[in-house]
Structures are given as C-alpha cells and as structure tokens.
C-alpha cells in the first residue's frame, strides 16, 4: 500500500511510538511539540505543547492513558493522552534521552545525559494511575553510569531487569529493584554508541542498533547475542516485527556527513532482515535523510519510520509481506 506521509514536524524526528492497541502513533522531533496521529489514515489527532527544547523521546503507557516525554529542556513531562494536559513535570540536571514504561505501566524509566559535570543516570519514577495528579516527586531508584553513559534503556520481561545500551557499545543489565549492575557485555564494536533498543512482544529478547553498522538480537536473561544483522551504514534504530519473523533497521549517513556525500549513497532506506536467518530480504526507500527511528505496529500489520528529513512515513503491509516465507519455514509449518 502507498505509504502515508505524516508531515507535521518542522524538524528532524527523534522517536515515534505506537500505543499498545496500535491505533495511535506518537511522534517527537526537535521542534518541541509532540504529535498524536491516527495510524490507520494518518490524520493528526492533536499535539502536546509545553516543552522548551528538542524532544528526544516519547512513550505511551500500556493503557494509553498517559504519555511520557523526555526533552533537551532537562524535563520529563507526563501528559494526559486524552485531554492533552501536562500532568506532571520532573526536572533533571541534564537532558533526558530516553523514557520507557514498564510492561504493566506502573513505573517509568528516564535516561539522563552526562553533561556539565553530571554523570549519566537512569532514574525510575513510580506512576500513580489512581489519582493522575498525584505523582511522586522523587525517583524511586537512581542508577548512575560511572563508566560509559547510557544512551538508551528499556525494561525486560516482568520488569525484572533494566537493560541499557551505552555510548561505548556495551549493553548492561541492571536489577530493576536494587539498581545493581548484573551484567555488562561488549555487544557492539568498542566506542560505537548504541542508538536504539527495542524489545520483542514478550520482552525475552531485544534488538540493539549501533553506529558500528550492525544490529544485534540479544537475550534479556543473560545478554547472550543471538543474532547479528550487518548493514552497510551506521544504524539509528531497529525494531522487531510481531507476526512475521523480521527485523527492520533504519539508519543512513550521519546527519553531519550527509551534505558532503552524494544523495545516492546516503542509504536512507528501511532495511528488512529475516530475524532467524539474518539475511536481508528487502528495502523500503522514501526518506531523503537518514532514518532516525522506526516503530512497528503491535499487531505487526504496519510500520512507521521517522527521518532526519522531518517526515514520518507509515507503511501498512501488503499481502506478499505476510505470504513471504522461506522453504524451511513452510516445511516447519506443514509439520
């Protein structure tokens, strides 16, 4: 199907997220506003205004009641999805690069930048759904990254661990109760920062995207590297598709290098790899800047990508996408 082009942002996209039902799509960009869209037709539902700086990250609670955003204005804001009001503002000493709700929505983590003498931290905030106005002031847990700052983080299955990707290319696993670091694995090449972490539906494994031009599928339990997907360009984002055994990688020449290179080699395409066999099976063109973020519909029927070019493109999958199968898979199915 023709992609739906969402042109509501004036600057480059930073993150997009589907809600759990998949009917809504939230996008944040450097232009300080959060947009909510109907994923089915691309109509804009509304915006959430209030941030004073570029917004780096967005997440929606599993019940689509609350929306959390993290911004370069050193705040995390909590919004009422339905009304668009800002319910709560948490102030941090530095910019917030990543927020994510636990699978049950009861907690929220925020990754803060290392800057101005402050070390990078991962803060955990308890979320109260009983009375939306009454949210805790202080984080219930604070993990400080002394070695290499965390760039991205997320919750494992049962919110048992916090998994963080670091600037030096390593991935670590923290106990989500105590904040103790349990494991640290140099998953990607040293000093190639991890740009994205996205989990599978059951959160037993996750995919990391890195500037070392590869994405890796890693087990949440012991950080064992299960699969490696090699691309020919630095990656900014990676997602796992439900339903079909694919992963989608997005990237492209780093924004600062683009002007010096020809457009034909920018490699601004979404790449589809087979999750199990690690083969590249297809590419989707369209953006004219690097892809900063990709997200998959929770039902696996669509995906969206946000680019440095300021556009979000929503693609609904066609029949051949679902029909495509390796011979071995077909055999397995027949058994």
């Amino acid at each position: 199907m023709r992609p739906i082009l969402l042109s509501g942002h004036e600057r480059s996209l930073n993150q997009i997220k589907f809600n759990r039902d998949g009917d809504l799509l939230f996008s944040v960009a450097k232009d300080k506003i959060v947009c909510a869209w109907w994923s089915a037709n691309g109509e804009r539902l509304g915006t959430y205004n209030g941030h004073q700086g570029a917004i780096w990250t967005v997440d929606v609670s599993p019940n689509t009641v609350l929306l959390a955003t993290g911004s370069a204005d050193n705040t995390v804001r909590l919004w009422n999805v339905k009304t668009g009001e800002c319910i709560k503002v948490w102030d941090f000493p530095t910019a917030v690069k990543r927020v994510e709700f636990t699978p049950d929505g009861s907690r929220l983590l925020a990754v803060t930048e290392k800057r101005m003498g402050f070390l990078g931290t991962i803060a955990v905030l308890d979320i109260n759904y009983e009375d939306l106005e009454a949210q805790a002031e202080e984080p219930s847990l604070r993990i400080t990254c002394t070695e290499s700052k965390a760039t991205v983080a997320g919750w494992s299955y049962l919110a048992k661990y916090i998994i963080a990707g670091h600037e030096d290319g390593s991935v670590s696993q923290y106990d989500s109760k105590t904040g103790e670091q349990l494991e640290n694995v140099q998953a990607h090449e040293f000093d190639n920062l991890i740009s994205d972490i996205q989990f599978s539906a059951d959160r037993t494994y996750f995919i990391t995207a890195s500037k070392d031009k590869s994405a890796k599928l890693i087990s949440s339990r012991n950080l064992a590297i299960l699969k490696t997907y090699v691309a020919d360009t630095p990656l900014n984002s990676a997602a796992i598709t439900p339903k079909k055994e694919y992963v989608i990688l997005g990237g492209g020449q780093a924004a600062m290098d683009v002007t010096t290179t020809s457009a034909r080699q920018g490699k601004f395409e979404a790449r589809f790899y087979h999750k199990v066999f690690e083969d590249e099976i297809g590419r989707v063109r369209g953006h004219f800047g690097p892809l900063n973020t990709v997200a998959v519909h929770p039902n696996g029927t669509a995906y969206a990508s946000g680019g440095e070019d300021g556009y979000v493109r929503v693609h609904h999958f066609d029949k051949p996408y679902f029909d495509f199968m390796y011979e071995v898979e077909r055999e397995q199915l027949r058994k």
């Binding site: 759990r20 089915a40 049950d104 037993t204």
Partner: protein, 741 residues
C-alpha cells in the same frame, strides 16, 4: 706495608668488603670503549720480512698501493721491527678518515703485493675485537652444517584442482589473500592485520607477495604465505621486480643512512636512494642515487615537486640488462648479474627524453646473433629534427631511426611480443595552436624495419593500448578540452586492426570510431580479443564498455577485409570506479573504487569477460585489489591447439562440476537454515518455560505484564479511535470467515 690485623681500622675492613663485590659485569658494561678514534687504522699482514735497511723502501712501495684508495703518508705507516732488526711482516697504517680505512680493507684485502706475498688487510678494531686472546678457540671446530630444509612449494597455488585464481585484497589495515570463487564469496587463504604499511605487490610471475614497511620490503610466499626474503631498505616507497623475478629494485626519497654493523647494507649504500637486489641471495647488487633528486630544478621552478621517474631502472625482457636514463643526456645500460656498466660507458644521447625495452626477445628478419632491442626518442634541438630510434644491445648499434618534425611529445608503445612499436607523436602546427597525433608503427620483425604511418588524427590521443599477443589496438582521442571546465571532455574511442593479407599482417586500418564517449582508459584482456574501455577517476561517469574484437556473428560489409569483427557486449556502471583489473586468465574483470582516490562507496565488483556482473563487494576503506599473476604456460603450441580443439568436451565436464557444486551448496544452505530455525524455536520454547517458572517462583499472576487501568480514566482507547480502525479490520475478517464457512 700491609697493616697487621691489630692495626686494622674499621675503614679498612669495609674497603676489603667492597673489593669482594663482583662488579665485573658493571665494568664490562661501562668500560670506556677505545674503539672510537681507532677507526682510521688498518693492519696489513702478509708483508715480506725485510731488514731494517730496506724497510723504508718497502713502505714507499706499499704507499703507492695505499694511496690509491685513500690518503695516508709515510709518517702514518708504522712497521715494527724485532730485536734482530728484522720487520715482523705486518704494518699499521693510519688513514685520514674511517671511510678511507674501510675502503682500503675492502679493496686491498686479498690483493697480491708480488708473486710471493698476498696482503691481508683488516681494521685494527676488528683485530682487537675478534683476535683478542680467549676469543679464538685454539682447536679447529668444523662449522655445523645446517640440515637440509625443504623449501616451501612457491607455486603451489597453480595446482588448484579447479584452476582458480588468487588475489590480494587490502582494505582498512588488513591484507588478505583469497581464492576467486566466481559469484560465491571468495575463499580466504590468509588474512593479516597490518600486513603492509603502504601497499602490496605481486612479483610478475606471482611467486612472491611483497609488503612494504618502513624497515624495508618483505617477500612472502608458499602455501601459507610465510616469510621468504627481506630487503632492508629503510623507508622504501617504491618497488619494482625484474620480469623473471630474479632481481628487485627499491626506491626511497630519503637517502639511506647506513649504521656500522648493519647485517646487509654496507657503507657503499650510504646516501643512496635506489638499490638493486638479488632476490635469491637477498643481497644488494648495486646502489644508486636517483637522478631526479640530484638533478635539481632543470626546467624552471614551475614544477618544484618533480614526479619520480618510476620504474627508474627498466629491465630487458630476459633480465640480462637493466638500463637507466639521465634525461637529456644518456642511457646507462648495466649487465647482470654483475651490475657492471655495459662497455664501461653510458650511451651518450643528446636530449634523450624516454626509452623503452622491447617486452620480449625479438628475432628480427635476417639477424642471427643474440640481441635485445630498446627504443628511445629525442626532441628537436636547434635545427636538428626530433628522432626515434631502435638500438640493439649489447652491440649498442642503432638499428633504425626516423626523423620527425614539429614534435611536442612522443610516447613509445611496444606490442607485448615486440612485433611492433607504435610511436605516438603529438604534433603541433607551426603556430603551435592546434595539435594532431601521428602513429608511426615500426614493424620490428620485418626486414629493414619498415615504418608504417597510420593516418594522422586531428585530435590528441590520450590513451593507446596494443592487444596483448595480437596486432590490433585501441586508442582514445579527445578534442580541445576547454581548460577548467567541470564537465568531462568528450572523447572518441577508435579500434584499429591490420588488413587480412596473406601470412604477413597487412596495413593497419581503422575498424570503427565510437564518438561522444567520456572513456579515458583501455584494459585489454591478457589473452587478447576482449577489451574493456572505461571512464575511471571521474565524478560523474562510471561506465565500462565490454568489447569483443572477434565477434562470431555477422560482419559489417565495410570491414570484410579486416582481421576484426567488433561488437559491444555490454555496458556496466560502477559508481566511482578507479581501477580495473583482468584476472591473469582473462576470465574475470574486477572493477574497484579505492579509498586512496575518494571515500565514496569503496569496494570491488567482479564481472565476467563479457560484462556480466557476478558479485558486488562494497568494502569499507577498500584500498587495493591485485590478482596474483601466473607464470607463462608450459604447454607447447601444439598442446594448446589440441586443448582449444577439444574445448567442447572440457566445457561439458566443467559444466557438470559447476552444477554439482551448486547442488551441494544449496543443500548445505537448506541444512543450515533448518538447523538455525530449529535452534531458534527451541530457544523460544525454553525461554517461555523459564519465564513461567519465574512467575511461579515470585508468585506473580499470569497477567503481570498487563496494563494497569486507571480508575478515573474510562477506557479511552476504545472510543472513536478504535472504531475507525475496526471498520477496516472487520471488513477483512468477514471476508476470511466467508471462505472458511
């Protein structure tokens, strides 16, 4: 008087203790070496024993010899006498500089003084160092003979059952050698990080791989690419093998500084830029100062960084001679293996601009004795015309010369068998405003070396290439290019072939000219017939045209009597292509884009001879791709003919082999996929079980990960939003249900 025990003071006791400490190791370490200053002394042994009276006479006689290699005087020669007033048969001599002393040792040692006496000349330091008491064992011990070590098979790669070719690939900091597997990924032989500092180079027959380091050149070979030979030329920058792999020339812009005690280099190499090495022994044969650097600015200061002339030494086809030109003055021809100047003098040629050896040993019509040919040219000097000449070596006879007028530049192109030399003459009109090119082709094998002039071309020829082992050639011409224009100048590609006329090749005729191209490079297949004409090093055009000169289809009427049937097989694009390389068998062509030229889309693509792209290999920081050359075939002409005749039979066999290999590979792929899929499914299952266990252990309800619903927020998401979506979903679902029903 020694103090008695009673009178010993405390201090004395300590002193004694100190003396007992064994500091001989320290003494040895910090002992002042007296060698310095004695560098200028030599010891001459083997002199006649003479009485005191005739000593002066002997010294005088000796001085004549000594002064031939350096400067010394009568006072500086000391010949000791014993108590019987007879000399001892040796003398000490002091030279002015250590260098002279070294030269004396080198040149005088072992030379006869008269019939009975042979001089033994050594440095004083050496005598002191090696001849000191205790250093020499009185008893003779026979030197241990190293047990015979079998050498590695340096040509093992040729015995590959599938006759695959190897190539070296230099990317990032790593150099690897691989087998070419057509469209399958290449098979690695070795891959080493930091294998070379500058580049890698194969020897002309593929026996060695040379890597270049600040310490020198290292040759590698054998099945595992182990170290073969080292040539310690510090800061070496350029390397050149002789055609038969016996010798190696190395060049560095920095003059060599030889330190005392260097295992390979001696003072003779000090201050030199070029060394000619013997590959088998690993020893330098002779070293030179390069002309370009010593020459200084000749043509004004416009070009302060003159391009290095490389290869500085050009080899004759049989490696018996190597020649170097001093531009505008002379050509020096050296004889190997002694590296002595042929006939003891350089060949004086006023104004000589360039020279080329024949790439093969030619037998000229009516010439019986052995000879090597070399061609050179001189520009117009005063009222003398420009001249192209063929010289026969070793006789240094001029075989053929031709005078030319209005010459701006000349390029000499030998055909690979030495049958022809094409002299490409760029001519200017009298006003020097327009340029034209003439091709003067010397038919070397024919009697009297006739010269054929191919019709003058109005445009300038920017590239020219002979067909290897053939008589056809391709050239590229360009019109007057507006200087500084961003667009590439339009070029025309012209194909020439000889007329079909009896056993002798006829006159050269134009087959076809392709206009409006941007091509600038010509790459013939090493076996002839096929040629790739390409645009390389360009920002906007990257086309490779694959031509067949012997197309087996219909021939155009006008070209009936030409020994060629031209056909364009395919045009391929390779973005940013910088280099094109044919494999030594002429089966594959590799086009590559190297990071040395630009950093965009570096990598290499492999095509068949007909232009079909087999595989693309985008490679980060790709630098160099080099096919391993093959030595010439050992089959006789008859045997080769036989093979060609039965080609069908062979090709059937090979097709079957290929098919079989593909089948095997496919099964292997399916098997691995099956295994991988099963492993994945098993992993998922185990992970699920573990999670269930954990849930049980923690007493977490099954729906622990389900979303919490806020009380004051009625199910918002099920409002209109979902209604829109459901409309679409429902329709599809209903359709499905009908089918099932």
């Amino acid at each position: 008087m020694a103090p008695s025990f009673d009178t010993l003071s405390e201090q004395d006791l300590h002193e004694e203790e100190e003396e007992e400490i064994d500091f001989s190791d320290l003494k040895e370490q910090f002992e002042v070496k007296l060698e310095e200053g004695l560098d200028t002394f030599i010891v001459i042994d083997g002199l006649p024993i003479v009485p005191e009276e005739s000593r002066q006479k002997l010294i005088k006689f000796l001085l004549r010899k000594l002064n031939a290699v350096g400067h010394t005087s009568e006072d500086a020669v000391f010949m000791p006498t014993n108590d019987k007033n007879m000399s001892e048969g040796f003398a000490f001599v002091e030279y002015e500089t250590p260098e002279q002393a070294i030269a004396a040792v080198k040149q005088l040692h072992g030379t006869p003084l008269d019939k009975k006496h042979t001089l033994a000349v050594n440095k004083l330091m050496d005598i002191d160092r090696y001849g000191r008491e205790g250093r020499i064992d009185e008893e003779y011990k026979p030197p241990t003979v190293e047990p015979f070590k079998e050498k590695e098979h340096l040509r093992s790669w040729l015995s590959d059952p599938n006759a695959r070719d190897q190539f070296a690939l230099y990317r990032n900091d790593k150099v690897g050698v691989f087998w070419n597997n057509k469209n399958n990924p290449p098979e690695n032989v070795v891959d080493r990080a930091h294998w070379t500092q500058l580049f890698v180079q194969w020897s002309p027959k593929g026996t060695y791989l040379a890597s270049v380091h600040p310490q020198g050149v290292q040759l590698w070979g054998g099945p595992a690419f182990s170290k073969q030979k080292q040539f310690p030329h510090p800061f070496v920058q350029l390397v050149e093998f002789s055609p038969g792999e016996s010798y190696l020339t190395t060049w560095s812009s920095r003059p060599i500084q030889v330190e005392e005690g260097h295992p390979v280099l001696s003072f003779e190499e000090d201050g030199k830029n070029i060394i000619v090495w013997d590959i088998v022994s690993g020893k330098p044969l002779r070293s030179f100062v390069s002309h370009d650097l010593a020459g200084g600015p000749v043509e004004g200061d416009a070009a302060p960084k003159k391009k290095v002339q490389w290869p500085a030494f050009k080899w004759s086809a049989d490696e018996k001679y190597v020649a170097r030109m001093l531009q505008g003055q002379s050509i020096s021809i050296y004889e190997l293996p002694r590296m002595n100047l042929l006939g003891k003098t350089s060949v004086k040629i006023d104004g000589v601009m360039d020279f080329e050896w024949s790439p093969a040993t030619v037998t000229r019509d009516g010439v019986k004795q052995y000879e090597q040919l070399l061609s050179f040219w001189t520009p117009e000097i005063g009222s003398n015309p420009a001249r192209v000449a063929l010289m026969s070596v070793p006789s240094k006879e001029i075989v053929r010369t031709r005078n030319l007028f209005n010459v701006s530049d000349v390029k000499l192109h030998w055909q690979s068998q030495g049958t022809y030399v094409c002299v490409k003459v760029d001519r200017h009109s009298k006003s020097k405003k327009s340029m034209a090119t003439n091709l003067e082709i010397f038919r070397v094998r024919e009697k009297g070396v006739p010269v054929e002039v191919v019709d003058s071309l109005k445009d300038t020829v920017i590239n020219f290439a002979w067909e290897p082992n053939g008589g056809r050639f391709v050239l590229i011409t360009t019109g007057e290019a507006p200087s500084g224009a961003a667009v590439l100048p339009k070029t025309s590609v012209s194909f020439f072939a000889p007329e079909k006329k009896g056993p002798q090749a006829g006159n050269f005729k134009l087959v076809r000219t392709i206009e409006k191209k941007t091509s600038n490079a010509i790459y013939w297949s090493p076996k002839g017939r096929f040629v790739v004409v390409a645009t390389v090093h360009s920002q906007s055009n990257f086309d490779l045209d694959f031509w067949d000169m012997d197309f087996e289809g219909e021939k155009a009427e006008g070209e009936k009597d030409l020994a060629a049937n031209l056909q364009l097989m395919k045009t391929v694009e390779h973005y940013g292509v910088t280099d094109i390389d044919w494999d030594p068998t002429g089966r594959y062509v590799v086009s590559s884009a190297s990071v040395w030229t630009h950093s965009m889309e570096n990598g290499w693509n492999i095509h068949t001879f007909a232009g079909q792209t087999l595989a693309e290999h985008p490679t980060d920081k790709f630098k160099q791709f080099v096919w391993r050359p093959r030595p010439p075939t050992l089959l006789s002409k008859e045997e080769q003919k036989q093979v060609r005749k039965n080609l069908r039979e062979y090709s059937k066999e090979f097709d079957e082999e290929d098919k079989y290999a593909v089948d095997i590979a496919n099964t292997a792929v399916v098997e691995t996929r099956k295994r991988v899929l099963n492993e994945w499914v098993a992993w998922l299952r185990r992970e699920k079980e573990l999670m269930a266990e954990e849930k049980d252990a923690y007493g977490i309800p099954e729906d622990a990960d389900d979303a919490k619903v806020a009380k004051d927020a009625p199910p918002v998401s099920e409002d209109q939003g979902e209604a829109v979506v459901e409309e679409i979903v429902e329709e599809i679902v209903e359709e499905n249900e009908e089918v099932i029903g």
